[in-house]
Amino acid sequence: MSEAKKKVTAAVGGFGRYAPVIGLVLVIVVFSALTGGGLLSVVNLQNMANQVIVTALVAIGAVFVYGVGNFDMSLGGAVLLSAVLGAMAAVRSGSIFLALAVCLAVSALLALIKGLFSAYIEVPFFIFTIVLGSVISSVVLVIMGSETTVYLKDAVKPVPSFDFTQMTIINVICLLGYFAVCLFLFNYTPVGSKVRMMGGNRISAKQSGINDKKMQVLTFLISSVGIALAAFILIIRTRTIGSQTAGSTGTDVMIALVLGGMPISGGPKSKISAGLVGALIVTVLNSGLTMIGLSTGVIQIVRGIVFIIVVLVASFSYRGRLLPR
């Protein structure tokens, strides 16, 4: 390959690598201008910290799952089931710690089910997760029985409630804590490297002695912690969990990952920042679009256009890297 060509390739590749961050900055700049600075007011920053949390927690964990090449469509369902059972536990006991424990246990159990399935059954994983997702929503309906919504205020003894600032603090701690742990696992331990290699070439990864089944279960477990935290935060923030809770989380996470620059088929180009950056872009976009007061139909159109641009840019840099020498 010629020097000039190499430079072009490197530049395009480099652009591809930073595109999500550039996109985030761009979205922030554009909407700050359009909202007359309102986007970056203290109130709205707190706002967005609260809004980003569910998508971000789930998306960060999902990087591990998607990274090995498991396309998981049951993420929203997992949040729903954890939140419903966690909220019920809180109502029965009045303890938010028990609620957290139940959230963790439920999502871990789902992770094990997914892990067993992907390791031992030869059906495309995403098909399994589609089925799992709908099974979960039916299970939730059965569990809730005659009630459609679980209210924390019906608890046997008062469940502590948090004001706006406390909530923001809890959110930021959960998000940064989980992100830090995931960042560490993904970039500074063999776990992340193994995930990338498995996503790139399962056979090669196996031949390098990477324990495929164990790793898959591990990725689901890591992701389950994010799911549990998201469910827990939903419980204490909304104090109201219905059968529609987290209905849009699955798609939000997928959009966030794509916007964040994560190859949806996983592999060596997976990056942990995709979950956080992508969730931030989605949140700023949603918040900004709502704030400038577009009608709801137009919001959806604009969101779609942004999504298409990102995919185009992503495929642009991807092609650049694969152009023949």
């Binding site: 009608s295 709801t296 919001i299």
Partner: protein, 412 residues
């Protein structure tokens, strides 16, 4: 390669132009944004009345969108932008936006509590001063969130008193109140039964919607309906429920039940929600003459022809202007420092009427009002309830005014 670049450019151009279109008016408003905080502090009635409000004597101010001086932004939490009721509300609020200096932001279709709270916080960031909780999944949390941001909250209706009380507590001084329809859903169901009894229907089918899944609203409507049937019996009408159809249209069981009903001898089909899904089966079975339909629904195009042809004979109707439009005077008063309060100094629940429409005359009267751009509750009516414009206005005049609207008063 060139094509790709071109498409990216085109797409971004579109995105920007669209964003710019929507952005222009919002940008203009934000110039005034600095005063917002002051206003929301003046929650109690003795707060200093603004200058322009003082000058105006009752009713003299031209209702051309100049009052109040500063645009009042309001967020409306809805769950379905395409529902007839929400569209009717939107139409009414559009009318009021021309008369008063208000601007309403509508949420996207919301399904869960998370989305509801996120929208409310976005409203705060966009400079809204009040939130209309047309839909609520997590009433007390929504009210609390609004209060946290210093926005007034209007809402809290339906049967669940505990929820309303909880919202009152969490929202505190920012709670504006909301209407009640008495035992709204119970009464709605009862009115259906009584209206049908009056028309001499004996064998009735009842669509109970979500009652069998335990959805409170529908459970109460069903209880009300059954009570109405008993009442009719006591009055000498030999009325009985020959079949209960559970669930929603579009499911297999619902379709099966519909087929079964068409094979039965029935006088009327009452639905605790919409009834439009019965039009076709009834007509196809050639029973349009013998079967009467009754619904809790809207005065809208959907029912216009069928009501006039006699197929639909009862609609229990919540008039949007009366039931939801009352949020506007409450908000405008609160924002100008004249929050209407009850004896205990808090926002309050007040009773409005649910209209039971049983004749084409009644239906057409209401329908024509809408159609010709006339309103049951006009901007002028609302101006009378604003303390700034009419110093005599208070909580009692408000309650009396909205409580007085029934189908009879409209007919007059």
């Amino acid at each position: 390669m060139k094509k790709k670049l071109l498409s990216v450019l085109l797409a971004s151009a579109m995105a920007l132009s669209m964003a710019a279109c929507g952005g222009a008016p919002a940008g203009g408003d934000s110039n005034n944004g600095g005063n917002t905080q002051q206003d929301s502090n003046g929650g109690s009635a003795d707060a200093n009345v603004q200058d322009d409000g003082g000058d105006a004597s009752g009713g003299d101010v031209a209702l051309d969108g100049s009052y109040p001086a500063e645009t009042v932004k309001i967020g409306l939490v809805g769950y379905d932008n395409t529902s007839e009721q929400q569209m009717a509300i939107q139409e009414y609020l559009d009318y009021l936006s021309e008369k008063f200096n208000i601007e309403v932001m509508y949420s996207e279709n919301l399904a869960d509590a998370e989305g509801e709270l996120n929208f409310i916080s976005d409203c705060a960031a966009a400079g809204c001063k009040a939130v209309i909780g047309y839909y609520n999944e997590a009433l007390s949390e929504a009210a609390k969130t609004a209060a946290d941001y210093g926005m007034y909250y209007w809402g809290g209706f339906g049967g669940n008193k505990d929820e309303v009380e909880a919202a009152k507590t969490t929202c505190g001084e920012y709670y504006l109140g909301g209407y009640t329809l008495g035992e709204a859903d119970y009464e709605g169901g009862r009115s259906l039964a009584l209206a049908l009894a009056e028309q001499g229907c004996e064998k009735v089918v009842f669509c109970s919607g979500g009652a069998s899944f335990g959805v409170t609203q529908f459970v109460e409507r069903k209880e009300g309906f059954l009570a109405g049937v008993e009442e009719a019996k006591a009055n000498g009408v030999n009325m009985e429920v020959v079949k209960e159809v559970e669930g929603w249209p579009g499911t297999d069981s619902f379709t099966a039940d519909q087929t079964a009903v068409m094979g039965m001898e029935v006088d009327a089909i009452a639905s605790s929600f919409d009834v439009a899904m019965w039009f076709q089966p009834v007509m196809e079975a050639g029973k349009a003459e013998s079967v009467k339909l009754a619904a809790i629904g809207e005065v809208s195009d959907t029912y216009h022809d069928f009501f006039n042809s006699g197929l639909v004979s009862v609609i229990v109707y919540d008039n949007e202007e009366v039931v939801f439009g009352n949020a506007i005077p409450l908000i405008l008063n609160a924002v100008s420092g004249n929050k209407l309060v009850d004896a205990d100094g808090n926002g309050f629940q007040y009773e409005v009427q649910r209209w039971t429409i049983t004749t084409p005359e009644e239906f057409n009267a209401v329908y024509d009002l809408h159609d010709s751009g006339n309103w049951v509750v006009t901007a002028e009516d609302i101006a009378e309830l604003l303390v700034d414009l009419n110093p005599d206005a208070n909580a009692d005049t408000f309650k009396t005014f909205y409580g007085s609207f029934g189908i009879e008063s409209v007919m007059q």
